[in-house]
C-alpha cells in the first residue's frame, strides 16, 4: 500500500462481499420458488425476494466501485485521499441505509413502506431495480455526491492520469443518470423511456468506463506493460463503448409505445455493442502476453482475464443473440433476457469488482499477494462460480427457447403458466447449478482465511515483482 488513506477501501470490499453472499442466498430462494411455487409463501413472496436479490446486487457492486475508487485514486494521483474520515463516514451511512432498506423490504408490506417513506410526495417506487424508497434514493444521491467530491478533490490535487479521469467520468455518469430514477411520469411510455436512461445507460454506458478503468489499472500493476500502451487501449475501448452504447439504448424502444424507427437505430447500434467487450478481452490477453514481470498474485491475473472473456460472452454474445428487433420481437421479456442478464452482470461487473478486490485486498492486508494455498483455493472458487454461471445461462437459454417456441411461435400457443410447467426441468437444473455457484462463493470466502505457506506472501509489498525469464 503506497498511501495510508487507501486503507479505507477495505471496509467497502468487506461489505461488498458480505452483501454478495446475501444476494446469492436470495437467488437460491427465487430459483426454488420458480419450481416450488409456494415456497416461503406468504412470508417472502417472489417479488420481495427478487427485490432483495437485485438490489443487493446493485448495492454491493456500488460498494465495490467505491472501494475500488478509494484504493485506486490515491495511487494513481500519487497523493493521499482528500479525506479518509469522510470516506469512512459515508461507508457507515451507506451500509446502514442499505441494511435498513433490505429489512424494510422483508419486514414491512411494500405499500406500507411506500406510504411511510414519502412515496406519496414523489412516487418513484415499484419499478424494476428502482424499488428503493424515496428516502433511500435520496441517501444514495447524498452518499454518491460526497464520495464524488472526495475523489474528485483527490484527483484535482494530484496527478491526472487517463485511468483516473476515465474512472471519474464513469462514476460521475453513474450519479447523473441515477437522477432519472426520480422522474416517474404517469405516462407509462415516458416512464419506461427514461427508466432505461438509468438502467441501460448504466450497464451499457458509464459503467463500462468504470470497468475499463479498473481493468486497465490492474493490468498495469500485474503485467508491468507501459502505461502509454494501456491507456491508449483504454480510450479506444471506452470510445467504442459509448459510440455504440448510447444510441444502442434503442434496443429497448422497440415495443414500449415508441416510434417504429427505433427498430433500426436500436438494432444497428446495439449490434455493434459487442465490439468494445471483444476489445476488452483482446486487451486483457494481449497485455498479459506482453507482460514484463511475473506478478505473484496469479489469482488476480486469472480474474482479470476471466472478466474479459465472461463479459464478452454475457454482454457481447448473449446480448447480440436477442438484440435485433425481429429476434427481440419473440424473445422480449422471456427467460432469454434472464439468461443474458445473469451472465452479463456476472461477467462484467461482478468479476471486475472481484478482480480489484483480489488484487488490492492482500496489499491492504500488508502483503503483495496471498499464500500459494490461499490462491489455489481462490482459483477454485473462480472456476466453480464461473462454470456454474455458464451453466445457469445455458439452462435459462434452453428454457427461454422452449418458452418462446411454445408460447409465442407456435400456431397453437400455450398459456404462460402451462409453458412454465413444460420447462420446469430446466429450472431445476438452474437451481442445482445455483447451489454449485454458492459452494464456489463459500470457497471464495474461505480463501480469505487460509494461512498456508507464507512463501509467496513473504515478499514485502512493492518489491514483489520478479523479472520475467
Amino acid at each position: 500500500m503506497k498511501y495510508k488513506s487507501q486503507a479505507v477501501a477495505m471496509p467497502y470490499f468487506i461489505a461488498a462481499i458480505g452483501l454478495f453472499v446475501g444476494q446469492i442466498i436470495f437467488g437460491l430462494i427465487l430459483g426454488l420458488q420458480y419450481v416450488v411455487g409456494d415456497f416461503l409463501f406468504p412470508e417472502i413472496p417472489f417479488n420481495v425476494a427478487r427485490m432483495v436479490h437485485t438490489n443487493l446486487l446493485i448495492v454491493w457492486l456500488l460498494f465495490g466501485f467505491m472501494g475500488a475508487a478509494y484504493y485506486l485514486v490515491p495511487e494513481e494521483s500519487e497523493t493521499e485521499l482528500f479525506s479518509s474520515k469522510l470516506a469512512l463516514a459515508m461507508f457507515w451511512i451507506f451500509l446502514v441505509a442499505g441494511a435498513l432498506t433490505i429489512v424494510g423490504y422483508l419486514a414491512v408490506d411494500y405499500a406500507t413502506l411506500a406510504q411511510y417513506t414519502g412515496n406519496d410526495i414523489l412516487a418513484t417506487m415499484g419499478r424494476e431495480f428502482l424499488e428503493q424508497p424515496l428516502l433511500t434514493k435520496i441517501g444514495i444521491v447524498v452518499v454518491a455526491l460526497v464520495f464524488l467530491f472526495n475523489i474528485s478533490m483527490t484527483v484535482l490535487k494530484g496527478r491526472k492520469t487517463a485511468i483516473n479521469i476515465v474512472l471519474l467520468l464513469g462514476l460521475w455518469g453513474l450519479a447523473v443518470f441515477f437522477l432519472f430514477s426520480f422522474y416517474n411520469p404517469t405516462n407509462l411510455v415516458m416512464d419506461k423511456f427514461y427508466w432505461w436512461w438509468v438502467v441501460h445507460l448504466w450497464v451499457e454506458g458509464v459503467w463500462e468506463l468504470i470497468m475499463a478503468a479498473l481493468l486497465a489499472f490492474v493490468l498495469i500493476k500485474v503485467t508491468g506493460v507501459d502505461r502509454e500502451v494501456i491507456e491508449k487501449w483504454l480510450y479506444v475501448i471506452i470510445a467504442l463503448a459509448l459510440v455504440t452504447g448510447i444510441i444502442g439504448t434503442g434496443h429497448h424502444y422497440y415495443w414500449i409505445g415508441t416510434p417504429e424507427y427505433w427498430q433500426w437505430w436500436g438494432s444497428i447500434f446495439s449490434a455493434l455493442e459487442p465490439i468494445p467487450f471483444f476489445a476488452m478481452t483482446v486487451f486483457a490477453f494481449n497485455m498479459v502476453n506482453r507482460r514484463r514481470r511475473e506478478h505473484p498474485n496469479q489469482a488476480a491475473v486469472l480474474w482479470a482475464l476471466g472478466t474479459g472473456v465472461m463479459a464478452f460472452l454475457g454482454a457481447g454474445v448473449w446480448g447480440f443473440l436477442h438484440t435485433l428487433a425481429p429476434v427481440n420481437f419473440y424473445t422480449h421479456g422471456s427467460q432469454i433476457t434472464a439468461a443474458h442478464g445473469h451472465m452479463a452482470f456476472y461477467g462484467a461487473y461482478v468479476m471486475v469488482v472481484i478482480t480489484i478486490i483480489s488484487y488490492a485486498m492482500p496489499i491492504l492486508r500488508g502483503r503483495a499477494c496471498n499464500s500459494r494455498k490461499a490462491q489455489v483455493l481462490e482459483m477454485w472458487s473462480f472456476w466453480l462460480m464461473t462454470i456454474a454461471m455458464v451453466f445457469i445461462t445455458l439452462f435459462l437459454t434452453a428454457a427461454g427457447i422452449l418458452q418462446v417456441w411454445l408460447q409465442r411461435v407456435s400456431d397453437t400457443p400455450l398459456s404462460f403458466m402451462a409453458v412454465q410447467e413444460q420447462v420446469s426441468l430446466f429450472y431445476w437444473l438452474r437451481e442445482t447449478t445455483g447451489v454449485v455457484f454458492f459452494i464456489g462463493l463459500v470457497l471464495y470466502l474461505a480463501s480469505f482465511f487460509v494461512k498456508g505457506d507464507e512463501q509467496a506472501a513473504a515478499v514485502p509489498a512493492g518489491t514483489a515483482t520478479v523479472p520475467r525469464g
Partner: protein, 141 residues
C-alpha cells in the same frame, strides 16, 4: 495499433464520439417525445388511470409480472391482460388470490377496495391500448 496512432488521438475520438452520439441521442429523444402523442395513448390517461398506476407501483406487481415485456418473468405478461381476460375476470382474479394450490406459484392478496380494483383495471386497459408495434406476438403475451 501502429505507432502513428497515439493516445491523444484515441482520447479525442472518445470525447468527440461521445459528444456527437449523445447529441444525436438527444435529437432522437426530442423527435420521439414530439411524436409520442400518436402512439402512447395519452389521451386516455384519466385520474383513474393515474391512480391505477400508483397502485400497480406500490404493490410491486412488476416484481412477478412483465408489463410490455419488462419486469419479472415469474408470472404472466399483463400489458395485454385486459384484452386476454377482460375487466371482470381481472377483478375477480385479484380478489380471489392466493389460490393456495399446493406447489403452484402464488400471488398475494392485496386487500384492494372496489375503487382501487377499478383504477387498476383502468390502468391495464390504458396500457393495453398503447401502440406497441404489434407486440406481443399473440394473446398469450
Amino acid at each position: 495499433m501502429s505507432g502513428t496512432f497515439t493516445k491523444a488521438m484515441a482520447r479525442n475520438i472518445f470525447y468527440g464520439g461521445t459528444v456527437f452520439f449523445f447529441l444525436l441521442f438527444l435529437a432522437l429523444t426530442f423527435d420521439t417525445t414530439s411524436g409520442l402523442p400518436k402512439s402512447d395513448n395519452r389521451h386516455n390517461i384519466t385520474p383513474a388511470v393515474a391512480a391505477g398506476k400508483h397502485i400497480w407501483e406500490t404493490r410491486n406487481c412488476l416484481g412477478c409480472h412483465t408489463l410490455l415485456g419488462e419486469g419479472a418473468y415469474y408470472a404472466p405478461e399483463l400489458g395485454n391482460v385486459y384484452k386476454r381476460r377482460g375487466p371482470e375476470f381481472i377483478k375477480a382474479w385479484i380478489q380471489s388470490q392466493p389460490t393456495g394450490a399446493p406447489g403452484r406459484r402464488q400471488m398475494p392478496n392485496f386487500n384492494l377496495s372496489d375503487e382501487e380494483l377499478n383504477n387498476l383495471v383502468e390502468f391495464l386497459k390504458y396500457t393495453s391500448e398503447i401502440n406497441t408495434q404489434n407486440w406481443p406476438p399473440n394473446i398469450e403475451g
